[in-house]
């Protein structure tokens, strides 16, 4: 499921300007596309996917904030454990969750990340094999 979305997004990024934009801009676009596809395929049931999509979509329209019926807690823990703080920073949307929930979301996030990396690796491998016949 992720693969289809990602390939489609990738073609969009490439079509927008192969010669117009710098490679770093394209790289950033690819990265955004990768995270967006990952979050979209994970579904809205996961807190990290919602937070990730929110972060990605927030850039175009900054001031437009629709009032949503979302009860979000701010800082449930004072942040005593430096490891826990680091994990919260790494996992998207990890600032407002309880510790138990954080671990759960982290597990799902790691699983999806690994799948995304495997997918990208496969794409790169197939692309490089096309170019060079050894």
């Amino acid at each position: 499921m992720v693969a289809l979305r990602f390939l489609r997004a990738l073609s969009l990024v490439r079509c927008s300007g192969p010669g117009a934009r710098s490679p770093s801009y394209r790289a950033r676009g690819i990265r955004r596309a990768a995270y967006a596809c990952m979050a979209a395929s994970a579904g809205p049931r996961r807190a990290w996917s919602r937070a990730l999509l929110r972060k990605i979509r927030r850039r175009p329209g900054r001031g437009l904030r629709r009032p949503r019926a979302v009860i979000r807690r701010r800082r449930p823990v004072g942040g005593g454990d430096p490891l826990e703080v680091a994990l919260r920073r790494l996992v998207p949307g990890g600032g407002c969750m309880e510790y138990c929930r954080l671990l759960e979301e982290a597990a799902d996030y790691v699983k999806c990340l690994a799948m995304q990396v495997r997918l990208m690796q496969t794409i790169v491998d197939s692309a490089s094999h096309v170019n060079s016949i050894d």
């Binding site: 990738l10 490439r14 192969p18 490679p23 770093s24 801009y25 394209r26 790289a27 950033r28 676009g29 690819i30 990265r31 990768a34 995270y35 490891l83 826990e84 680091a86 994990l87 790494l90 996992v91 510790y99 138990c100 671990l103 759960e104 982290a106 597990a107 996030y109 790691v110 699983k111 990340l113 690994a114 995304q116 990396v117 990208m120 690796q121 794409i123 790169v124 692309a127 490089s128 170019n131 060079s132 016949i133 050894d134």
Partner: protein, 387 residues
């Protein structure tokens, strides 16, 4: 210390197991220059305190030896001129190191691979490295690290040894009762060390939630709602940690803190991988496809690499990043000649048939202008090797 009769029995059983086990593993440190294993059996029947002291002193010796080994290993890790592929030149090589570490953690253990482990972590991991370096270093075969899954037969037997001694050293009756099942139960590979001790002392309360054993609460605590909720919460956390442990490679840590550390590192590593892949994809359009198709039609002989080399040199003129990505796409890497020669002499020349040192003037001209010193040492020119 005056060990009673029960302790003598435990010591006797421990010594018997030791004798049976010592036949399997060569444990020279335990003998302490005594000459043979039979003296242990004789000592049990006659001397009591002396035997205990000997055991304690012999146990202390491998610990000291492993401590000195730790420093030695750390020194090796810091020193990049030993020929170890540990020096992080730039982001890609540092990243490749972590990749190798994660790939290796699932495979077997060998002395060279042990050096790739990050040595800045806690002592448990250092003890692990001491256990890994059996073939190369004169470290004691007693792997005192808490991981049981390095070498399953060896460490499980060693765990039995240690459990037997740990049970004999404790002076309580409960220890005597529990040490025997420890000796038998530790034959299962990967038995957790930390899980054994809480069971041995149930009266210590439920301070840390052991991941495998159920926590037996005291009588008065069972009805307290706060402690029940706490216990429930801790159990849930332990369950989640176990799930995470299965996902993350290199999951043989029993300590919660080091496990969290490993998880954090793995997440950072995955994010870094996504970033570098997207960079690769972004720059893939700049690589001239004409040059690529030309190479694909030619035969890649020994001289065929010169075409690649010229292509790389041309790319280096405009943008270093695209040159690196071109190389990466071909499965090649850039390394200083000294390292390449070190690797080729270490692994045999046959494994690197396509080693080609860049002698073109273009490369020499552009070496001083490199912004990052990681692309190669200043005195030696880069060598293109088939990775």
């Amino acid at each position: 210390m005056h060990p009673g009769t029960t302790e003598k029995q435990v010591l006797g059983k421990a010594a018997a197991s030791l004798n049976g086990i010592a036949a399997q593993i060569p444990v020279p440190e335990l003998h302490n220059g005594r000459g043979s294993e039979e003296t242990f059996v004789l000592d049990v029947s006659s001397g009591h305190e002396d035997f205990l002291d000997e055991i304690l002193s012999s146990l202390a010796a491998p610990w000291d030896a492993s401590a000195s080994d730790q420093q030695w290993i750390v020194g090796l890790g810091d020193d990049p001129e030993e020929g170890l592929p540990y020096a992080p030149f730039d982001e890609s090589t540092l990243f490749a190191n972590r990749l190798l570490q994660y790939q290796i953690s699932g495979g077997s253990s060998s002395a060279e691979k042990a050096m790739m482990l990050p040595l800045g972590h806690d002592s448990q991991q250092q003890l692990l490295v001491a256990g890994y370096g059996n073939s190369g270093f004169p470290s004691p075969p007693l792997t005192l690290g808490r991981a049981g899954s390095i070498d399953s037969t060896n460490s499980s037997v060693v765990d039995a040894l240690y459990c037997g001694f740990g049970g004999s050293i404790q002076h309580t009756d409960s220890a005597n009762q529990h040490s025997l099942p420890h000796l038998k139960g530790a034959s299962t590979p990967g038995q957790n060390f930390g899980a054994v001790i809480p069971v041995a002392s149930p009266s210590a309360g439920s301070g840390t939630a052991p991941p495998r054993q159920k926590v037996r609460a005291r009588r008065g605590q069972a009805t307290d709602p706060h402690s029940i909720a706490e216990r429930l919460r801790r159990e849930r956390i332990a369950e989640r940690m176990k799930d995470l442990q299965e996902l993350v490679p290199n999951a043989n840590k029993t300590d919660k803190a080091s496990m969290l550390d490993e998880i954090i590192d793995y997440v950072k590593f995955l994010q870094l991988q996504v970033l570098s892949m997207s960079r690769l994809g972004g720059a893939a359009a700049t690589v001239p496809l004409v040059g690529g198709s030309d190479i694909s039609h030619e035969e890649q002989t020994g001289d065929g690499l010169t075409v690649t080399e010229q292509q790389v040199a041309k790319l280096m003129e405009e943008d270093m990043g695209s040159a690196m990505q071109y190389l990466q796409g071909k499965g090649l890497c850039l390394m200083p000649i000294s390292l390449a020669s070190a690797i080729s002499t270490a692994t045999g020349v046959s494994s690197f048939p396509r080693l080609l040192s860049s002698s073109s003037s273009a490369a020499h001209r552009h070496l001083p202008s490199l912004p990052n010193p990681g692309a190669g040492d200043a005195p030696s020119s880069p060598a293109v090797a088939k990775a």
